[in-house]
């Protein structure tokens, strides 16, 4: 796991000629990290939802029944927490708010209507992605903290019932928000074609980078070795 931030694929030559041009966006490690996070989040959502609303209890069958859901869910939460921690450490710097992010956000209508040409040039992440990143970071901290409070099998003795009641409420609200953020995140990936391959194959097309993250593309082109100073990649 990287001990500092990562701004690139970690390869010296991340832009590859061709038709189309391909640009490396995620290393294998990052992708594994992401998909573990994604998978655990999905499992958590499914198992959590099964306990959230009676109509969704049928989902517990996916895990072999309610007892297993109760037993497994917190452990998946632990996996998610550490997995997401990995992502966080990789990407937090790239998600720091930049001036253009405000402009981007202010032109939300253009964003939603796919008038990307009217948007300012954006680095590796746009404001929407950053919002997903930060809200998930906060929500996951809230979820793990409240989750531990209601993890009765091991931690029942450490808090009062009243604290647990608050925790369970907070946990469910945070989970709803997290799922909503997740829906946004997934929808955005589906809506913006060419995005998913970045997390599947690790690379995107040059056109994709040009259209959505032109500033990032320009940086890659301009300073191909810049990342060497910034990364001690562990992958």
């Amino acid at each position: 796991m990287s001990t500092t931030t990562e701004n690139d694929t970690g390869k010296s030559n991340s832009v590859h000629a061709g038709k189309p041009v391909t640009v490396d966006r995620y290393t294998g490690g990052a992708r594994i990290n992401h998909w573990i996070t994604a998978g655990s989040l999905v499992l958590l959502a499914l198992s959590g939802l099964s306990l959230f609303h009676p109509r969704l209890f049928f989902l517990s069958a996916l895990f072999g029944g309610g007892q297993l859901v109760r037993a497994i869910h917190p452990w998946i939460g632990v996996v998610l927490f550490f997995s997401f921690l990995g992502l966080f450490l990789r990407f937090w710097k790239l998600n720091l708010w930049k001036r253009e992010d405000g402009t981007w956000l202010a032109r939300g209508r253009d964003v939603l209507t796919a008038h990307d040409e009217r948007l300012p040039e954006i680095g590796k992440y746009n404001a929407g992605q950053k919002l997903v990143f930060w809200s998930m970071s906060i929500l996951i901290i809230v979820l793990i903290a409240s989750g531990v409070v209601i993890w009765d099998e091991y931690f029942a003795a450490f808090t009062t019932i009243e604290q647990k009641r608050w925790a369970v409420l907070v946990h469910s609200i945070a989970a709803i928000l997290a799922i909503s953020v997740w829906i946004t995140h997934v929808y955005a990936a589906i809506w913006v074609k060419g995005t998913i391959r970045g997390m599947v194959r690790g690379s995107v097309t040059g056109g994709w980078a040009w259209r959505y993250h032109r500033k990032w593309l320009r940086e890659l082109v301009a300073k191909p070795h810049a990342k060497d100073e910034k990364t001690t990649a562990a992958e």
Binding site: N13, G18, G66, R165, I176, K193, G194, G206, V221
Partner: protein, 313 residues
């Protein structure tokens, strides 16, 4: 003397209530029976209770539980709390009455109150793990219990306990197996002074009235019945000498109700949450329908090629 609980019969028995008499079933909807069974109740007269723990003993024996032998920690509560193997517990409070300066040793049998509006059932996410019969008994169904502990959060009286052995929740069943065959609960049968009596809720209220009159004649001006309306009344009620201050009886809640936090969690959050998630998904769907996908154009690719042309290998 209040009519004692009759001796059990050993002949084949038909249970007098069952699935068809469910009023509520956790995480499920049931059609309540057209006619409600007569409500039953256990009345615990704290002023007659001698704290002998016969109820605990009978409870362990009848339910075949095996509580741990603990240590003495300088108190009379043994075990020290309710456990998955101890469904009822005498709680002892040494209270100096500021009005009389007399010591009063308040001894209250703690255990499930069998609320008319059971918080445990409301909180329970597992369909059918907690049921409420139309006679008022709230029972845990262990095959359906997933051990999540939500019932503990839902309960205004801090009663259910999760077993670390089978990871299901335990509490007083009001001896539903005995009541189903026309018996009374094991604790009520054993109670030496009939501080615990069992019958219909109406009978219990009437019996309590007599007890309260007696207590008032002995100087307990605030004697009264504890049948808290905040949970719709309970099917385990107390006669208290100081009904104006239930909290002196080892923290018996003054006005118990299902916690507003739990209400919020199991009420508005549940629906609002589904709505929020649904809205998010639907919004995405509609957005897609209206706007179609956001695609990279040929011009974008070409622009990229132009930009990277000199750099690419």
């Amino acid at each position: 003397m209040f009519p004692p609980v009759p001796n059990p019969s050993t002949g084949p028995q038909n249970p007098k209530f069952g699935e068809n008499d469910l009023m509520r079933r956790s995480a499920s909807s049931v059609t309540p029976p057209a006619e409600r069974q007569t409500e039953v109740a256990k009345l615990i007269d704290v002023s007659k209770c001698i704290g002998c723990k016969a109820c605990q003993s009978a409870c362990i024996e009848w339910n075949d539980t095996h509580p741990e032998i603990e240590e003495n920690t300088g108190v009379f509560e043994n075990p020290h709390d309710l456990t998955p193997d101890m469904f009822t517990l005498m709680r002892f409070t040494e209270w100096e009455n500021p009005e009389t300066n007399n010591l009063e040793w308040l001894i209250r049998k703690d255990g499930c109150m069998h609320c008319e509006d059971p918080g445990c059932l409301k909180a329970c996410p597992a369909p059918g793990a907690i049921v409420q019969y139309s006679n008022g008994i709230v029972d845990f169904v262990h095959e359906n219990c997933i051990g999540c502990g939500y019932c503990i959060k839902g309960c205004p009286f801090n009663i259910p306990r999760i077993s670390q052995v089978d990871h299901t929740a335990y509490k007083c069943t009001l001896c539903s197996d005995r009541i189903a065959v026309g018996q009374g609960p094991a604790c009520a049968k054993a109670c030496p002074t009939q501080a615990i009596v069992y019958g219909t809720k109406e009978e219990m209220k009437k019996h309590a009235e007599g007890r309260i009159t007696d207590l008032k004649s002995r100087g307990f001006a605030n004697a009264g019945l504890y049948d808290p309306p905040g949970v719709g009344g309970t099917h385990v009620m107390y006669v208290l000498h100081h009904a104006d201050k239930p909290e002196i009886y080892a923290g018996l809640p003054n006005d118990p109700r299902i916690s507003p936090i739990v209400e919020a969690w199991k009420g508005v959050t549940k629906y609002a949450g589904l709505a929020v998630m649904g809205v998010a998904a639907v919004t995405g769907f509609l957005h897609y329908m209206v706007n179609g996908p956001n695609r990279v154009t040929e011009e974008d690719e070409e622009a990229a090629e132009r930009l990277t042309g000199d750099r690419s290998s």
